[in-house]
């Protein structure tokens, strides 16, 4: 691909970067490469070359854009409030509009088809047991052969179950559901109606897929009950439906969305305290980027978890772990280099277990041999001891 295209980025947004460079150390790809085009400032500079100066989209441009994890760690670091995430989304969408050949366009479709996804997952699970799949190289977790069935217990709150997480990590949803119920709420489930939230499609620039998935998700999670989300990446995009679709309906929906830890922290008085028999574990909290940088609600994880475990924070300024949704599969080398920094921070913390509220991070870190749990799995287990 080498063509002059319009990126369609809001000119005001594109002009807002003053090139001070304060974002650089907060960018995981700049941290590991030291290369300007792998930094937010360099990427914005590249976008300006294409949009403002008519430079052709070439291999160097694609590399600069596609190496971005879209962690958005640059946004809270930016004193000028540059909206990097939306500029990157616009750029990715422009590349798709200009017929970039990309397997993701078809690959991510599967995520929207629940029965197909579950069927393929089952096939994959069997193939893994027959050692037909190089799981580690592909960054895949061990997919369970059978999944327990979740049943609704009321209508106080929705629990968003998503696509891959529902197919591969449903036991996490089960644990989350039990903890929310312990806090006194009846949990409603979207069932087959809501699948993929559209996050991966959004990050790949697949606009129409994103919109279609958003519409379906909103329809499946109707009414006025809070929508609780136990995956940081999904929660971030559900909260952005308002911005993405620009309709009053979508805005109202996004208002209802909460990360499950946010909701639990607000309802903490309803939760039983840790029992005497709960073993003392030291847990390091890894903040998923889309919880810390996008939703900016990573504190409640520590608030909830510290009631049941000894919590330590990682001292790496919340830098990304390299998972980034489909990033670890698309850019395996960079994703692994980024992960090294995270592993060093985990090592320094001295913790035995890492808690992460995002399936992508969980899988990526577990592939490097780290014991990773969802924070609420740890809480669920602690509560289990007293049941």
């Amino acid at each position: 691909m080498s063509a002059k295209i319009s990126l369609g980025i809001d000119p005001e947004e594109l002009a807002s970067c003053v090139a001070c460079g304060l974002c650089l150390p907060h960018c995981p790809t700049f941290r590991v490469t030291g290369e300007e085009w792998a930094s937010p400032r360099g990427r914005i500079s590249a976008m300006r070359q294409v949009q403002d100066h008519g430079m052709a989209v070439d291999q160097a441009f694609l590399e600069s854009m596609d190496t971005c994890v879209q962690c958005r760690g640059c946004e809270p670091a930016c004193p000028s409030g540059v909206l990097f995430g939306s500029m990157m989304e616009a750029t990715q969408a422009a590349l798709v509009r200009n017929r970039r050949v990309d397997w993701r366009r078809w690959g991510f479709r599967i995520l929207g088809h629940r029965r197909l996804l579950h069927f393929l997952s089952r096939v994959l699970a069997v193939a893994q047991r027959l050692r037909l799949v190089p799981s580690k190289r592909l960054g895949l977790p061990l997919i369970p052969l059978a999944q327990e069935t979740l049943r609704a217990s009321g209508e106080d709150v929705w629990l968003f179950t998503g696509c891959v997480m529902d197919a591969w990590q449903r036991s996490t949803h089960a644990a989350v559901k039990r903890v929310v119920e312990m806090a006194g709420a009846g949990v409603a489930l979207p069932g087959a109606g809501a699948g993929c939230c559209g996050a991966l499609a959004l990050h790949a620039g697949l606009e129409s897929q994103t919109r279609a998935l958003a519409a379906r998700t909103m329809k499946a999670l109707g009414g006025s009950a809070p929508v609780l989300v136990d995956s940081a990446g999904c929660g971030a995009v559900l909260k952005e439906y308002g911005r993405l679709l620009g309709t009053p309906e979508a805005e109202a929906f996004s208002e209802r969305v909460q990360d499950v830890h946010e909701w639990l922290a607000a309802n903490a008085d309803q939760l039983p305290s840790a029992g005497q028999r709960t073993p003392d574990v030291t847990v390091a909290i890894h903040d998923p980027c889309h919880l810390r940088h996008v939703q900016r609600v990573h504190q409640p994880v520590a608030e909830v978890l510290s009631r049941y475990a000894t919590v330590v924070m990682l001292n790496d300024d919340g830098l990304c772990c390299g998972a980034g949704g489909a990033y670890a599969a698309m850019q395996p080398e960079l994703a692994a280099s980024i992960r090294v920094r995270k592993l060093e921070a985990i090592e320094r913390s001295g913790a035995e277990v890492v808690a992460s509220a995002n399936p992508g991070c969980t899988i990526h870190l577990a592939n490097a041999g780290v014991t990773v749990r969802h924070p609420l799995e740890i809480v669920d287990e602690a509560l289990e001891y007293d049941r």
């Binding site: 002009a15 003053v18 090139a19 460079g21 304060l22 290369e35 085009w37 360099g42 004193p79 000028s80």
Partner: protein
């Protein structure tokens, strides 16, 4: 001019470095065309990412064989355009040379590679109770090699001195390809202090490949005060009074009303929005002395109508400093572009020059914010503008010149810490005589006879009597 894969220079460089570490695509060269200054449109040749001294030597040798200049670059956070490449030189980026080579806690020194980030060094030496004292506002991102190049300052340089006081020795690759060590890690140099000549030379003598830094013990006690005043005059008088009283705080920083507003919006540190100016004063040392000095500073402020807030803990201290250090970026909430000036005036003339700055800016129909190292009279007026506004650049540059002239008129100097780069190059004759400039040119050519290291910076051309003059003017388009 393009650089294809088949370009002989690119091929030569790729013999020295792996091919993924020599980049020459038009987009990559255009991204390297600027740093954090207002100068856009620099023209980079091939961009190299060496990881060792030997590789830097290889890059320099290849550039020399092809008659190309060499521009060293760290994190690209310079504000004077020192790393902006002119006429397609080989750009040697040191960001991949970012290791801490050794720490000697007993001798309070460390050897570092030039691409190491300033703050990363202090973090790495924190377990020894040591830190690197120069702390530019960009310390979380700027590289130590860049700090050496510009002889960088920072808020805490008031008591501790600027970078030059914290560099014991440097390893430099000269344009001949030879690697030399200037200075001595034990801190005493026989003969001429070549290290002293090199620090602050803005890449015009060679490429820094390793630095022996002095480490400073962390102070046992620190107190940070936020003083708020109804007038800039009262704030400036308090600054002078503190120094006159014999106190040398580790930092004295001033911010005016406009910048307080912008920063508060970003950080939420509780800066008073109704004050005309705030002054952050930090005193450190032994607990008894610190308490006494902090009380005295508070007293002097109150006598001049100021109000005093003391940071209760490290968290509050960090928040106040975050406000101060993110000031430059925060202004984009108001206008998309800024031109950050850097001049120094005698401390006693601070208020007078600041008032002149306000007048100059009004005359040129621009907005200004002031945030600066008041303790050593280092002014940083920020001119705000939107470069898409027709004719605005002329007004920005006219106001800039007037500010420089006003600073020099009261006995000030051109630059406190950002360096001269491209920005102040043509103002050098306002400060130095022809004989001064000639002497500086000859000193530079003692290291780099053919002027191939970062040409076109600092020294106005014409003042140098060299036969080689790579550039006689800043190329079209560089000035915004």
């Amino acid at each position: 001019m393009g650089f294809s894969r088949a370009d002989p220079l690119v091929k030569d460089l790729r013999r020295v470095l792996s091919s993924d570490r020599v980049r020459a695509a038009p987009l990559e060269r255009s991204i390297m065309g600027r740093d954090a200054s207002i100068f856009e449109g620099g023209q980079a040749g091939p961009v190299c990412f060496p990881i060792s001294t030997e590789e830097v030597q290889g890059c320099v040798d290849a550039a020399r064989r092809h008659g190309r200049a060499v521009v060293p670059r760290g994190a690209g956070t310079g504000l004077a355009g020192g790393a902006v490449p002119l006429e397609e030189p080989v750009v040697v980026v040191t960001t991949k040379m970012n290791r801490l080579l050794s720490v000697d806690a007993d001798r309070r020194m460390a050897w570092v590679q030039p691409g190491m980030i300033n703050l990363d060094l202090s973090r790495a030496t924190a377990p020894y109770g040591l830190h690197f004292a120069p702390d530019p506002s960009s310390q979380q991102v700027c590289s130590l090699g860049g700090n050496v190049g510009t002889n960088a300052g920072g808020p805490h340089c008031l008591a501790h001195g600027v970078t030059s006081a914290h560099v014991l020795a440097v390893e430099v690759v000269l344009m001949s390809g030879e690697a030399v060590v200037l200075g001595d890690p034990d801190g005493w140099t026989p003969g001429l202090d070549l290290r002293g000549a090199y620090v602050g030379s803005e890449g015009m003598m060679g490429v820094t490949t390793a630095i022996a830094v002095r480490l400073t013990p962390d102070p046992p006690a620190v107190q940070t005060l936020l003083l708020a005043f109804d007038s800039v005059d009262a704030a400036a008088q308090t600054v002078s009074a503190v120094i006159a009283d014999g106190i040398v705080p580790s930092a004295i920083e001033m911010m005016d009303k406009n910048i307080i507003w912008a920063v508060e919006n970003f950080v939420g540190a509780g800066f008073p929005l109704d004050a005309a100016a705030v002054v952050i004063v930090e005193v450190d040392g032994l607990p008894g002395g610190v308490a006494e000095e902090a009380d005295r500073v508070a007293e002097l402020a109150v006598e001049r109508g100021g109000s005093v807030r003391r940071a209760a803990d490290d968290e509050e201290r960090a928040l106040l400093w975050k406000g101060r250090k993110s000031a430059f970026g925060a202004i984009a909430q108001i206008k998309p572009n800024y031109y950050l000036h850097d001049t120094v005036v005698p401390r006693t003339r601070l208020a007078e020059v600041m008032n002149q700055v306000y007048e100059i800016v009004e005359e040129h129909n621009l907005q200004v914010m002031n945030v600066f190292h008041a303790g050593d009279g280092n002014l940083h007026p920020l001119l705000l503008y939107d470069r898409r506004e027709p004719g605005v650049m002329d007004r920005v540059h006219a106001a800039g010149s007037a500010i420089i002239e006003a600073s020099l008129a009261v006995g000030g100097v051109l630059s406190g810490e950002h360096g001269i780069g491209i920005e102040k190059r043509d103002f050098m004759p306002l400060m130095f005589t022809e004989a001064d400039l000639d002497a500086q040119g000859r000193l530079r050519r003692a290291f780099d006879p053919n002027e191939m290291a970062n040409p076109g910076k600092v020294l106005p051309t014409g003042a140098s009597c060299a036969d080689v003059n790579a550039l006689d003017k800043v190329p079209e388009g560089v000035w915004g």
